[in-house]
Symmetry: C2
Subunit: 346 residues, 2 copies
DNA sequence: TTGAAAGCGTTACCAG
DNA sequence: CTGGTAACGCTTTCAA
């Protein structure tokens, strides 16, 4: 409003004491008026509130947290923020947390194990109420730090492994198997796997394993895999598909590690004069918002990201209230579109 | 490691005092060993470090922040996390901040003004070192809170308006004008605008205005706009395009408020038997990772999100070090692909 | 219903 | 180079 207020700000923001003094009560009473309004006489409460409003009082949660040893910060660790990969998990988690006035402190490891350790340590130093982290495969030191913190740890997205405390996600091996099954049901026999599979992307590795097992179970020849450490992109998909078909022209189906990669694969196939789905079937993973917009429309797996975020928030609340650890499986589904049904097969 | 450690954790984590006691020095010395290692005898420093390692010491930054009145938290406020809209800004910002060991505290307003006020207040209570927020148009109360906080405020993404302190972004009106210019140069004359334009999405409104002005400047008839409050999606784009062409069959070019909407528009046009770019030109905004994968490949505007994130971090550092406020324009570019060049025109 | 006093775990300041 | 001692702003007993 007026410039004086503005200039004063920062250096010496109003404290509970300022309010207390102004109203003529003790710090204590002001504090209670904030946290337990009905333990304070209504008239007094009103005066306190208006004093706060007038001085533009903003509580200092650093002090509050230090004093109460509860911080209401939730540390969230993701491995990527690109391509909607985890953005909507964070989104729904944050929005659910909001109802309890909890804040998200975000860190992104970019699939780097050292970074993960550094970030977790750093995050822990804020004494979060809980940490929500992507995946169940972490370097030993990270696991140790997390365990030693004594707070609820929610591992999200993947449940296929040893969980530290509580997990909300799904089985990525099953996803790979579903890709295989769908391709096989679509009439394809010589499967390949293509995409970015980073050393630390254990989920991608699990999906690949599921795909391999699915093919083996059906008595198909060993699947051809062609991957790269570099991050997924349509350019990568295009390149990998070109290379793949050069060396393995017999391939008639390609499972991709992400939709974006699949988009590039589709582009490569078009350039090579291969018809999809007639000559080659393609299936993606992730259900990118554009999956239905490419042609042919991409058949893919849709993980339930919103639900994972929401259930993670609920798991945090539950754990804080003493509910024992748990593992929650969140459903996903195969979204059948056009890219993996052999027309002749119908 | 061993379960006892684990169980003990949380409740009484090791403090500087624990370390001090163990090593037989004062708390003070331990603190300095951490923050200014070379003010402590090397041998002592080593003993302190190993004691910390052994006890799995994690500093309590709530206490540190309270004491030093510097928190190293950067509050980041976005209006959306979907569709890579701002995810990569957050990504690059966070990664740049990491070098100074600063943490991102994230909030998402989802284009809701009340939410924005609530979130900003809440964020401010953590006494962040700076706040980075999307846009320059905020409710008066938010502006007041932000100003009163006395910390550096970096407004990102948009620079077209009154800035509180410092801004890093671009002029959205110019983007709209560029869309118009490109369509006009492509040989189109009856322009339309389609997409999700929320009441609080001032950037979208500015782009629309730029488009209108561009068309007017070229002496074209008033452009037809067909928008919705609902969030952008390909379904929305498809529906809006259908409706648009039903009432305005004369339209020969559509500028979209986002690529995802444009994807839906392309789908609608295909269903209607309209050829793109021959019959109708389409241009998007955002350069979604799939823009080059739809057919025809989408011509769109590519904002430089990474740069915005990086420069925002730099602006924060600069402001903290007393460098005066500034407005930094970040370039963007028109990525010409196939959807907006009339073949006959060539 | 209200207040006084003792922390919470650091950092800052000043001596030694 | 090291150690006391006082904040930092709030919450938590415990009394009144």
């Amino acid at each position: 409003m007026d410039l004086n207020t503005v200039e004063k700000g920062g250096r010496n923001a109003p404290t509970l004491a300022s309010i207390a003094e102004k109203v003529g009560v003790s710090v204590n009473t002001v504090s209670r008026a904030l946290r337990a309004p009905n333990t304070v006489r209504p008239e007094l409460r009103r005066r306190i509130n208006s004093a706060m409003e007038e001085l533009n009082y903003v509580p200092n949660r650093l002090a509050g947290g230090l004093s109460s040893t509860r911080s209401d910060i939730v540390a969230v660790v993701v491995t990527s923020l690109y391509y909607s990969e985890f953005a909507s998990i964070v989104d729904s988690l944050q929005s659910a947390l909001l109802e309890r006035d909890m804040q998200v402190m975000l860190a992104n490891t970019r699939y780097d194990a050292d970074q993960e350790q550094r970030l977790v340590r750093s995050l822990l130093s804020w004494r979060p109420t809980a940490v929500a982290i992507i995946g169940v495969d972490h370097p030993p030191k990270v696991v140790e730090l997390l365990k030693a913190s004594g707070i609820p740890i929610i591992e999200m997205w993947d449940t296929g492994g040893e969980v530290i405390d509580t997990a909300v996600g799904f089985d990525h091996t099953a996803v790979g198997a579903a890709q295989a099954d769908h391709l096989i049901a679509g009439g394809y026999r010589r499967l390949a796997f293509v995409g970015s599979v980073r050393e630390n992307d254990k989920r991608a590795q699990k999906r690949l394993r599921g795909l391999e097992d699915g093919a083996a179970l059906a008595g198909l020849p060993r699947i051809v895999t062609h991957t790269d450490q570099q991050g997924g992109s349509s350019e990568l998909g295009e390149r990998l598909a070109h290379e793949l078909l050069e060396y393995h022209p017999e391939i008639d189906a390609i499972a991709c590690n992400s939709d974006v990669v699949a988009f590039g694969v589709l582009r490569a196939l078009k350039k090579l004069g291969k018809r999809v789905p007639e000559d080659i079937g393609v299936v993606g993973f992730g259900d990118n918002e554009a999956a239905s917009c490419v042609s042919p429309a991409l058949t893919t797996i849709r993980p339930n990201r919103e639900t994972i975020g929401k259930l993670t928030a609920e798991a945090i609340f539950a754990r804080i209230n003493g509910v024992p650890p748990s593992i929650t499986l969140v459903d996903w589904k195969l979204v059948v579109r056009e890219s993996a049904i052999r027309k002749e097969t119908r």
